[in-house]
Symmetry: C2
Subunit: 98 residues, 2 copies
Amino acid sequence: MAYDDSYKFKKVISIGIVSELTGLSQRQIRYYEERKLIFPDRSKGIRKYSFADVEQLMDIANKREEGVTTREIRNEMTKEIRQKMLQGQMNAHFRFRA
Amino acid sequence: MAYDDSYKFKKVISIGIVSELTGLSQRQIRYYEERKLIFPDRSKGIRKYSFADVEQLMDIANKREEGVTTREIRNEMTKEIRQKMLQGQMNAHFRFRA
DNA sequence: CGTGTAAGGAATTCTGACACG
DNA sequence: CGTGTAAGGAATTCTGACACG
């Protein structure tokens, strides 16, 4: 982890390939971006995704199938981020203690 | 290794991005393919590269700068493959021996 | 709300060729 | 041999909108 991570987070994949990889339509992928569930980079207006984005989209697809709305998914994401930031603070505090 | 490898070897990157990543021109990248140094997949005629291909291209770029010809690079690659196949046979023979 | 589709335009990629050397 | 470039065409992607619900 952390070195090969470059691959996972590098935004290099265009939407057509992401569509093939996830099974989602390009319309769906763009809509999830509109709903702030996914954040591709842009290269001259053209969206570029990472493998991490692809994974994220597969999670979204699963939740949507279960009937979870984009708003709910968005809320869950926000919570998870909150958790991770807290975790980060905890680590900063106790790393050299225990 | 082996699980996250999926990212490294998945052919999902188009030539424009590969060009940005490697600093090579599209012309050069296509030429190295013509010389059998690199083997992208095709999606409706459009070349798709993996991160492994990108690394390979950076190696090629370095060798070219040193004045190594594409033919020589090709020969070196062939030798390396030969080595690895031999290594594979060795492993198959002695894995459960030592 | 979530997704499909037709529409017109902009950006990307492809090949074969000519050029230089 | 290795790489640049102009040329014309094909495939991709983009946005805003209408549709259904």
